[in-house]
Symmetry: C2
Subunit: 437 residues, 2 copies
């Protein structure tokens, strides 16, 4: 009878991270972490599973019910695997609101789950850098967050013209639609949804949707066009925009000039972020390469994030950057380095009696923070060399018959093929010198 075997395929929309994939992931994470830490942000994390209630409100209708991994636990609680980190961070901040010194600068790289059709840049499980600042109303917070968001891409070696940041203010669109175009709140909501997907539909489809939503104003499309093309300086000619909104935008762009980011950060009234909880500035970072022209990441300000948990108000600003999106960007711009093996020295076993000695060599290397793999079973030299080659080790430390007689070791550099025979302590010295170069 033949036993039925299980498939080795991973669950749809997820990834297996083999060591070479993991080296890439670790590289992405460590560069991101270094940048956000350099700005004084502290890492946090929350549980993978939260109460479903956390996602019911505020997240945008689409998620609950359709895209979320929710289920009933064995204690009859409605729970969900986190689809995003913002509700968790809001809960955690609300819980310790009195104790946490402000401003709160936090980051995390959680894995998030969404039930959706996997596609380019869209997976069911992905990781997302979340960076947030709480407790600063000044648009200097926007400035810092934008500067940090750009520095992440620079840290990966992205050239200045490879991406651009577009920024708008949430109130702008509402003020224009409600007070300028004078449509109803329902119509305004519809139009903002249309604008959010404008880049994904044709111009004809766009015009048809707008006309259907605002049937009684035949010049709606052209008025909206005028709004979408407004600059910081021409914004005062758009009907409906409040003085304070104008002042906020002008102030931010003066600051942007001061810190030298005018080339990268641009005002663009067409930016509409999908989530409903944004209340102030919203921004998106775009890949400028023609073949990958898409939003890399975005974020914005939300003034009432902890409102679900508390009657107090706390303003926040933040963004999220997904690992798949980032990796696609770096690949498209040829910015991913080659990853060498994690291990430095391989110690083959040529004669079984050398095992204890080899084990001691490895121990000495490890004491000096040099990683070393020892062969456990004696094999022919050729086989062990080819293994070391495949694994990409930098050196081989060898103790054959001759070396045993003279109490020496042979150190072979796998790249240059140079080799030296000397005492173990000399070999250790040599490795340390080369590594510190």
């Amino acid at each position: 009878m033949k036993e039925q075997k299980l498939t080795t395929e991973n669950y749809k929309g997820t990834r297996d991270f083999y060591p070479e994939d993991m080296r890439l992931r670790n590289y992405l994470f460590s560069v991101m972490k270094d940048v956000v830490r350099s700005y004084g942000y502290e890492e946090y994390d929350g549980p993978m599973v939260e109460s479903l209630d956390l996602y019911r409100a505020k997240t945008g209708e689409e998620i609950v019910g359709k895209q979320i991994y929710n289920f009933i636990d064995k204690g009859d609680r409605e729970v969900a695997i986190r689809p995003e980190m913002t509700p968790t961070v809001a809960r955690m901040v609300a819980k310790k609101l009195r104790e946490l010194p402000r401003p709160i600068r936090w980051f995390s790289i959680p894995n998030l789950w969404r039930y959706e059709q996997p596609g380019h840049g869209r997976l069911r499980e992905h990781w997302q850098l979340n960076v947030d600042m709480f407790g600063v109303t000044s648009s200097r917070a926007e400035l810092e967050i934008l500067s940090l968001a750009c520095d992440i891409l620079f840290a990966f070696g992205a050239p200045k013209n490879s991406f651009k940041v577009t920024i708008s203010h949430r109130s702008l669109l509402d003020e224009f639609l409600l007070d300028g175009l004078k449509v109803s709140p329902n119509q305004a909501h519809e139009v903002s949804k249309i604008l959010d997907k404008k880049n994904k539909i044709t111009q004809d489809e766009y015009v048809a949707l707008v006309t259907k939503t605002i049937p009684n104003d035949s010049s709606a499309v052209s008025k909206i066009d005028l709004f979408l093309n407004a600059t910081v300086n021409s914004l005062n000619q758009i009907p409906g925009i409040k003085e304070e909104t104008l002042a906020a935008i002008k102030g931010l762009f003066e600051d942007i000039k001061t810190i030298g980011l005018s080339d990268i950060i641009h005002f663009d009234p067409s930016v509409v972020r999908g989530f409903d909880y944004y209340t102030g500035f919203i921004f998106e970072i775009f890949d400028t390469s023609p073949q990958n022209k898409r939003s890399l990441y975005g974020g914005g300000r939300y003034d009432n994030l902890i409102g679900l948990f508390s009657n107090e108000e706390l303003t926040g600003i933040g963004f999220g950057l997904g690992d798949v999106t980032l990796q696609n960007f770096l690949t498209a711009h040829n910015l991913l380095p080659n990853f060498a093996s994690d291990t430095t020295v391989f110690i083959p076993l040529l004669d079984d009696s050398s095992f204890a000695e080899n084990h001691n060599f490895a121990k000495e290397l490890r004491k000096e923070k040099i990683s070393a793999e020892v062969s456990l079973v004696s094999q022919k030299m050729g086989k062990q060399l080819s293994y070391a080659e495949k694994k990409g080790y930098r050196w081989i430390l060898l103790r054959g018959e001759d070396e045993i007689k003279t109490n020496t070791v042979t150190l072979k550099d796998m790249a240059s093929r140079n080799q030296f025979t000397f005492s173990f302590s000399e070999a250790l010295q040599k490795i340390k010198e080369e590594l510190s170069k």
Copy 2:
């Protein structure tokens, strides 16, 4: 009308990791990773959610149905949040069996989920270091894994007498029970389950359970006692033990002596690991402190792990070390260090006009890999000092009225309270010097 607020409590049996908790977690993970990497192990990861089939077989009955987080996804697939990593690693290895150079040395620190009553050292979400080696039949693999398992605790500063390793061989108990004591396979299974929980029940309960399981042999308890107290040298007097099992145990203990771990690693036939998939050596690492006397972690050899996926056989050996258990051990032995803030320099804002200059200082510091937080809103000095104090910054870099006039900065060391006024480049130099000490 008063709005109903959501609770800020996290889901039962999970933890919120605030920055201070996260620093501890990062410390635990980085020490573990450094040790396993120094042995040439490579990091991997798999998805958080797998097909439920993966856990149905081989995992021990208790998990499926009772302790597992399983549910039906929106595409009608039976899935589960991983309760352990072994099925995932087996699946991944089976998938690339032809390509992976052997031996395969892998590690991961996944978060795992089990539905159980939270208690001391038992949580619903925990992290577990998993270390595995595949493809080496020699007990040198056991030797390396045991040496590595000990080195992890040594790397945290554990003294030699703070823990001990006990090791047995899976066949030993089976051979003794089936061929020595001549009980049925069902009885043998029952007895091994009783022995697994022997430390958690009273001696009377233990005797009663054994007598109930083997009613027709009145000396069963004393015969089992003799077995449980056997040493490597007296093992040949126990009935039923096969020659090859004896030889394997003797061989391993000779190797253990050679590499100098005899003080720590002891033979103990009473070791029984709960999971059914172990087939060879099994081991446990115990905390020896009287107040925390419990198994810290354990592992063993499994010869047919990929059998679920493939007709080929691949031998493996590995162990898992949970973060909660590790943290309890380190706390009990007073081995946890104090964690300073991640950030090095705080730059207060005393006058709004200094913002751009402060921002540039921070930029220069960050270029040198020195983390710096800039204040975004000007405030009184006292308030900013007390914030810096709370956050635990090492230095404050100050540019007040006097410093602006003389184009200098004041660098204040928060620990010693020493301060110097000099140019920014001198301050940068000073910080770099101090940090390299």
